[in-house]
């Protein structure tokens, strides 16, 4: 028996028959969604409340008189609004998200469930210490894992994200130098290939920044670095594995040279995923390194945060670590903060943030770490490096891979736009990949590679997915090399075509204005 017994066959509509425009602007499952300001009303609410009992007002004449202008939606409308919007996003749940240096790996849902246990999610940060011992134990256990995995001496848990962790690290360096009377050390040396946050952080903390040159092989130039060290240099900020996806083989020699010259070594740990369980930064002479829990330890990135950036410290910097932190005394966990720092922690550079840091990320990261264990985390590093090298070797005949000849890469593979014809560039390859159903790689970063394409597959991709991605990547690269003009206008199938970023910056519209308000303003 067949399902279609009538003999009817689907046919392709003729052009102009009904294929082009739709009445709604929707295309089947691709649904347009207006702004809440266009569909909601200030009278509508999706939350039921009891009547407010009448009572004494103590607002002292400050009662709000003017309308705020906040539209409301009923619950079904609100759920539909955000669900429709969500479908205009690419996400790791949908497919490979190979943003180099961003480590977009699978986010296990067990992490979400654990973070939502009322004992964690519904716990006030100023709960009396005896009534939140379990929370301090989570912080303490995670701290132990981080210190052990990195081979370092201590960890500051409170920084809110990677860049905040960088700030924590360089402030500890400043405090340690000041304690030695070395206020004159004001320069931090940063490689050109560093994340933009490195120089920005150094400046935010009052340092001046100078570039460290790179070698042809994409590594720090050790001799040039040594030549620049001196009594005005506070230290270096190095990313290892670096942003070209390469391990710095001279890392220990760099650390030794910096230490011998009286400086400290900060390591940007954004790429720790490549070496977790296989290499301990503590063995390489690092003094401080932040760890992005939303990269290596799988806490979800949420479209731009929250992150979490604990910082591990060497013994030399430990006395300067920020408050607060959790200490175990016997069976009891105590909170060391301003009041309890005492003489033992008198050198701490102080508090960086209200409360304790990103507890919701700690529960997720600890859940992930316990799931993988010491053996699983080592496998994480191995598979992430294996996947990246597989892409590197499957692509190097099509795209220029500037460091491929010098050996394997770590967790990410880098390509340049060399060899693309006149008029075609990295952005076209990226947008072409969108039409193939993939999120593009990191583009135009690091700055040391022309038209850089930095591809980080992570360890949570299957070989089948990698093979499909490689097929698509090769096809798009070959179309670009062949001068296929269609790729210049990609994406063709995304919810939006290329967006005019120049217009957005030239005439910024950062908030919605109702049509009558907008007219009145002009």
């Amino acid at each position: 028996m067949t399902i279609n017994q009538s003999g009817w066959r689907p046919t392709t509509p003729q052009a102009g028959e009904s294929g082009g425009q739709t009445f709604t602007g929707n295309r089947a499952l691709m649904l347009e969604e207006p702004l809440i300001f266009e569909i909601g009303s200030t009278e509508t609410t999706g939350v039921d409340f009891a009547e407010a009992p009448s009572g004494k007002s103590r607002l002292g004449g400050l009662e709000r008189s003017k309308a705020i202008g906040l539209p409301g939606l009923s619950e079904p409308e609100a759920v539909r609004h955000y669900t429709r919007l969500s479908r205009q996003n690419y996400a790791i749940d949908l497919g490979l998200f190979p943003l180099g240096s961003c480590t977009m790996k699978h986010n296990p849902r067990l992490n979400e469930r654990m973070a939502r246990l009322p004992g964690f999610a519904d716990l006030h940060p100023l709960t009396p210490v005896d009534a939140c011992q379990g929370a301090f134990e989570v912080i303490h256990q995670l701290a132990h894992w981080l210190v052990t995995l990195t081979g370092m001496h201590s960890v500051a848990m409170s920084p809110k994200a990677g860049a905040h962790g960088e700030l924590c690290g360089v402030l500890a360096i400043r405090a340690a130098l000041d304690a030695k009377g070395e206020q004159a050390r004001k320069v931090l040396l940063v490689p050109e290939s560093a994340h933009g946050t490195n120089p920005a952080t150094a400046a935010f903390a009052g340092f001046s920044v100078e570039d460290i040159p790179a070698t042809e092989a994409g590594r720090v130039n050790l001799e040039a670095l040594k030549a620049r060290l001196g009594p005005d240099v506070a230290g270096v900020m190095i990313t290892n594995p670096n942003t070209c996806g390469l391990f710095e083989p001279d890392m220990k020699a760099i650390s030794d040279a910096v230490h011998a010259a009286g400086g400290f070594v900060y390591c940007d740990g954004a790429n720790f995923n490549a070496i977790v369980g296989r290499v301990r930064p503590g063995d390489l002479g690092i003094d401080a390194m932040h760890i992005n829990l939303h990269k290596t330890f799988s806490t979800p990135h949420g479209g731009g945060g929250p992150g979490s950036g604990p910082v591990v410290f060497s013994e030399a910097l430990t006395p300067y670590a920020p408050l607060p932190f959790v200490e175990k005394q016997g069976d009891h966990f105590v909170l060391v903060e301003e009041e309890t720092a005492g003489e033992h922690h008198a050198s701490s550079f102080g508090r960086m943030v209200a409360f304790h840091g990103q507890m919701g990320m700690f529960t997720r990261a600890l859940t992930y770490i316990l799931s993988h264990g010491a053996d699983g985390l080592r496998q994480v590093a191995e598979d992430s490096v294996l996947n990246a090298n597989y892409i590197l070797r499957s692509m190097e005949d099509v795209l220029d891979a500037p460091f491929a000849k010098s050996g394997p890469c770590m967790h990410e593979a880098i390509f340049s736009d060399k060899g693309l014809p006149e008029g075609f560039s990295t952005i076209d390859v990226a947008k072409g990949l969108i039409d193939e159903g993939f999120h593009p790689m990191t583009v135009y970063f690091p700055l040391v590679v022309h038209g850089a394409m930095l591809v980080e597959p992570t360890e949570t991709e299957s070989k089948a997915t990698l093979d499909q991605f490689i097929g698509a990547f090769r096809s798009v690269a070959e179309r670009a090399k062949g001068g296929d003009l269609a790729i210049k206008t990609a994406p063709h199938f995304a919810p939006r075509r290329r967006l005019d970023e120049t217009l957005a910056a030239r005439r910024p519209v950062l908030v919605y204005k109702e049509p009558q308000r907008a007219e009145a303003a002009e």
Binding site: L70, P118, G277
Partner: protein, 452 residues
């Protein structure tokens, strides 16, 4: 190892493609002295979901969750009911597992949420524009101080004694390194905030005055005169809001002349979470926008003329400007911003106003009831949903004793200001729509007993 899809066969095939004998060959750049030859000793090996769930649940049970007991803690983090749909929506994988929207054609969901959030926050705080979020209120507050320095080219900030002590502490830490001068003071157990002192302290070197509204003791005061005094000396007024629900009932700081309004958005949609992740709010007037820190989303059109959204004014930011950026912030708190935005959309203006009214009436009634207890004096006479009591004895041991009885009575000023002798009898009590009359009665009886 449930999160790793490669099979041993896959690994071997891939190594063959690469031309490596083993995965060790891929780590050749690591000097021998830096390599570990097996899993780190002394750490447990991988575990099942069930085993991990047992471990984490046991830890969670050691904590006294707010929902399980009469609960009156505030002081910068507030417990409100969050509709179930908010938590569902932020767990949509397309929001939860997306990255910063660097490829706008496939990130319109997050970008439109950012645009809506910026508009909601700007309107709530009474400003022209808001950014797409900061880490939290305390870091947003420091960013506002540095922004005022850039705008006024002056280095002295005057911080009100009513500003949350953790926020003051963060600013003090940072100022040690940047050379900013901070004028700080402690709050006093009085009904009036320190507005007059602040006005008198403003001089030609002042970059900004930072004032919290409602303040750490729960007090609210019109800041119009303070704003005028700031502007007369060409200084900026920075207002800090740690309980945004209040703005459903009271005038916004922007309306009263604040130039920069920052805040903690946690109380709308985000939850307590033991202090983080939260969501920093940052809003200001349009003319200051190019000095703002953080991500901004802006409206534009695509190649077919359809409306769309992109990250914009990036020339302020670290990935373009590096050491000349307005801030080093990169990842902020966009998922929490989504939670806050969705909760605000569910509330709408009518709902937010009703919620605020319920909070205020409940807090006012609770203040009256607690003031009836012998040994309790109500310090604050104008407040929103949080007020300060002066007890006849030190509040901190009372709070601890009540916690042992399963009552979370409030935040003692002794916890927040351990060195200030004159504040030790102060207790800050927050009352929201989640507080029941029975909770208030339980606290009143327990205080009666503790203070007898």
């Amino acid at each position: 190892m449930r999160y790793l899809p490669l099979t041993q066969t896959d690994r071997e095939a891939m190594l063959a493609t690469i031309g490596a004998k083993s995965v060790d060959d891929l780590f050749v750049d690591v000097p021998a002295a830096g390599r570990l030859d097996g899993p780190i000793h002394g750490l447990p090996l991988h575990a099942s979901e069930l085993a991990v769930e047992r471990h984490m649940s046991a830890l969670a049970k050691k904590n006294l969750a707010a929902g399980d007991v009469p609960f009156f803690l505030g002081a910068g983090a507030y417990r409100h009911h969050v509709p179930a749909s908010v938590d569902h929506l932020i767990q949509r994988g397309e929001f939860l597992t997306a990255y910063t929207p660097y490829q706008p054609e496939i990130a319109q969901g997050t970008l439109q949420v950012m645009f809506e959030f910026q508009t909601q926050v700007a309107r709530l705080l009474g400003c022209d524009v808001a950014n797409a979020s900061m880490y939290d209120g305390s870091t947003a507050c420091w960013e506002a101080i540095t922004m005022a320095r850039r705008v006024t080219k002056r280095g002295k900030a005057i911080l009100s004694g009513g500003l949350h002590p953790h926020y003051v502490s963060v600013a003090k830490t940072m100022a040690k390194f940047t050379g900013d001068q901070l004028v700080t003071s402690l709050p006093t157990l009085s009904p009036e905030p320190d507005t007059l002192d602040l006005i008198n302290a403003i001089d030609d070197g002042t970059s900004c005055v930072v004032v919290q509204y409602p303040d750490i003791l729960g007090r609210i005061e019109d800041m119009s005169a303070l704003a005028e005094a700031c502007h007369a000396k060409k200084a900026l007024l920075v207002a800090v809001v740690t309980e945004p629900v209040a703005l459903g009932a009271i005038r916004s700081p922007g309306e009263m002349g604040a130039d920069i309004v920052v805040g903690e958005g946690q109380s709308i949609g985000v939850g307590l979470q033991f202090g983080g992740p939260y969501v920093g709010l940052f809003a200001c007037s349009e003319k200051l926008v190019r000095q703002m820190p953080g991500r901004l989303c802006g409206e534009t059109v695509d190649a077919e003329g359809k409306r769309g959204f992109v990250l914009t004014l990036s020339t302020r930011e670290q990935h373009i400007r590096r050491e000349k950026a307005t801030s080093n912030i990169c990842t902020s708190s966009v998922l929490c911003a989504l939670a806050m935005s969705a909760h605000m959309t569910l509330l709408g203006e009518a709902g937010l106003r009703r919620l605020a009214e319920i909070n205020h009436v409940a807090a006012s009634a609770a203040a009256d009831r607690l003031a009836e207890v012998d040994g309790v004096e109500l310090v604050t006479d104008r407040f929103f949903n949080e007020f300060t009591l002066k007890l006849s004895k030190e509040a901190r041991p009372v709070v601890r004793a009540l916690a042992d009885k399963g009552i979370l009575a409030g935040v003692s000023l002794g916890r927040l200001y351990p060195d200030a002798a004159e504040l030790q009898n102060g207790l800050v009590v927050a009352v929201t729509e989640t507080t029941t009359e029975e909770d208030v009665e339980t606290l009143a009886s327990a205080l009666e007993e503790a203070l007898a």
